[in-house]
Chain length 430, copies 2
């Protein structure tokens, strides 16, 4: 039965796409189900889809799905990649199919999307406290026996609001540890243990584990990052041990979770507390498409620590293709992709590929080409000292920095092979 939070799987995983709802969709094509897009024979470089267009390279995506799962498997921990990055039901499925323990979300609406897509183990790596969200979470849990979706608590004020909501069941919760000067999370370990006792004592919740987030402090400096992660993991383990000693956990296998997308290898090897009872969960989300900017730089350090050649590490799978619409003065080419199409919040995009007008195979973008500014609908490409400059009508692929804020600008993305033929598609639910 379809209910507001439980539509048919088809509607979510295989929605109907059309050119008015989906920028980048061929303007003359009929509305098609997502699953039908891969067999249309569309070729990006033949001009079958209007640019700008965000796309995902299949081979890099598949590589990343396997690479990160192996890293988690090798560390003996579970992977619960953050779904907020893509909010793409088809990618949630791909992550689960690759072996992920479950999917992480930022709020109940995101969780509802995941559950509709088949997710049955989730983390809400955030405080939940609005009565409407708590009620909807309870409804999801009741509608899906076996569904797990613990969320974070970091204050008695939040607990009071949970108790006030008087949900018909006790929610699984994790105590969040935080760092001074940071975001959410209890700063003081003694207070964290006191909160754990309060949670244990409350009939509104069941204490299911402990959680922290190191990502905001990662710098890419080996020694500093290792010290950061080690200290935070030690705090998590100490809190977990104290909760264990007092019998505060109310689940068979308590969860211990951390891990953004920057220093996930350090988290992976340090996450599991001594003892075999734990379910360690790594939440890295950006690995799935990776990027050509901030996370590429972090990954180079990760690869070095892992003894992994960069060519064998995570690969950038997400590109935004644009067309050169104007070369109005020497040293400047204007692309028709802008802040509405590509992330700019954590570094500007970089030209990575180039296909002169009419050419069906991409070349590497000449070294020296850079993007130095974006407006809403335009990017400023500077060819610099490169031997060649782009011409009006040429196509340029922008590598992005920060997958999250590119994903949320697109309601669909085609998945392409190495010749940029469209072989599949994903849709997003932001």
């Amino acid at each position: 039965m379809d209910t507001p939070l439980a539509p048919s799987l088809d509607a979510l995983l295989d929605p109907l796409l059309d050119p008015l709802a989906c920028k980048g969709y061929p303007l003359g094509a009929p509305a098609l189900r997502r699953s039908a897009i891969g067999c249309q024979g569309w070729r990006v470089l033949a001009g079958d889809l209007p640019l700008p267009l965000a796309l995902i390279r299949r081979d890099a995506l598949q590589h990343n799905l396997g690479w990160m799962q192996r890293l988690a498997d090798d560390a003996g921990i579970g992977l619960a990649p953050h779904g907020k990055t893509t909010m793409a039901p088809a990618l949630f499925r791909a992550q689960l199919d690759a072996g992920a323990w479950g999917i992480t979300f930022a709020n109940v609406q995101q969780l509802a999307v995941g559950v509709a897509a088949g997710v049955r183990r989730a983390l809400i790596a955030n405080q939940v406290l609005q009565a409407g969200e708590l009620g909807a979470l309870a409804a999801l849990l009741q509608a899906h026996p076996g569904l797990r979706a613990p969320f974070l608590v970091d204050s008695t004020a939040q607990l009071a609001l949970i108790e006030q909501a008087a949900a018909p069941l006790a929610f699984e919760v994790l105590v969040e540890l935080g760092l001074p000067g940071g975001r959410t999370g209890v700063r003081d370990d003694t207070q964290a243990l006191a909160l754990a006792r309060r949670l244990h004592a409350s009939p509104a919740v069941r204490l299911a584990g402990v959680e922290a987030y190191e990502g905001l402090w990662a710098t890419g400096d080996d020694a500093g990052d290792a010290a950061l992660v080690n200290a935070l993991m030690q705090r998590l383990h100490t809190l977990a041990a104290a909760c264990e000693a007092e019998g505060l956990f109310e689940v068979d296998q308590p969860i211990v979770s951390a891990g953004g997308s920057a220093v996930f290898d350090l988290v992976a090897r340090g996450l599991k507390p001594p003892g075999s009872r734990w379910q360690p969960l790594l939440r890295s989300g950006c690995y799935v498409t990776h990027d050509d900017g901030a996370y590429r730089r972090y990954a180079q350090v990760v690869n070095r620590r892992l003894g992994c050649a960069d060519a064998n590490g995570l690969r950038a799978a997400l590109e935004v293709w644009a067309v050169v619409q104007s070369c109005p003065e020497p040293g400047l080419a204007i692309l028709n992709a802008g802040k509405r199409d590509v992330s700019t919040d954590w570094g500007l995009p970089v030209p990575v590929k180039w296909a002169p007008a009419g050419e069906l195979r991409p070349r590497e973008a000449p070294a020296g080409w850079t993007i130095d500014k974006l407006n809403d609908q335009h990017a400023y490409l500077r060819p610099g000292d490169a031997a060649v400059s782009p011409q009006v009508g040429d196509r340029v692929a922008l590598g992005i920095s920060h997958p999250c804020t590119t994903f949320d600008k697109w309601r669909w993305m085609p998945v392409v092979d190495e010749d940029y033929a469209v072989v599949d598609a994903i849709t997003t639910n932001f």
Copy 2:
């Protein structure tokens, strides 16, 4: 008949919304048509909708629609507000109902959305040159007799691509003038006239006017902005006069267009060339919701020039409400709205309203509260020296800076009255 680029008006203007497709939609509510949302009795401050939530204040919106149209009417020019700001079919209709000449778009996909919403006069304030886009534009023009949608040309390279596309009709085009160091547009006036001659001579296009964009250079400094606009208007007029003198225009009423959202009053009063034949078109788009940031600062200067009290000028209609999820250390409150929910590309949001937990009426946010950082899903509120600090569970409204990049983060927004009761809704087609 429904075709890919001409769906039923209902599907576009009155789509079905549901909690999985639309963050901020009540999690337990059934799927509803847009037109049904205003009569559900939902109240934002009663917690009927999950936060974060972007909303539009009806009274401010209505005020802005009338205010800007009067400014254009008083100047004797047409208003073709840029639709890229909102991409909201219902707002396009409201702008047309208020008296707008037409709507401006950034590309053919956006135009197709507008045409489906009933727009019949449009500008594409951008270069069009992809064969697929040109073909789709031709199809739209053929399917809708009387539809006008001139686009910009700034190079013979672009003209060559248009000619190569061999569309079944001649497109209306405007010569774009540009400024040195700027974006698109012909830098040199002699070259612009030469391009106009080439366009006149080409069977692929019909020269329909001239265009420029001053917005990138506006500073808020009266004298500087006036000099900028006057010089650019003079260049437009000179080019227009030269084209007139040579009989290059191929339409009855050539278009002259300029105007972003920063110094639109200066453009409005200087846009129309001498003579009565012209159709001057002002393209300002952000006025429709205005903001509490960059455009608020520009508007204060505009108001001073117009002799308009700020209270009678444009009003901020767009707010993003969030809940305080954690107060983890003194001087810090974490809100559950982040870069996925609110613009950060042109200044950070500012707390403008505050509703303590349980209160049904908003207060003004205390002076001194600021947002100094955002992550993907979080904002850092600093109460500073204010007498009161927000508590966990309190609701805070963020005023935004730059409407465009907040609109594109939301697939719908409720429209509310001054008590934050939901009276209507808009949807977006990014």
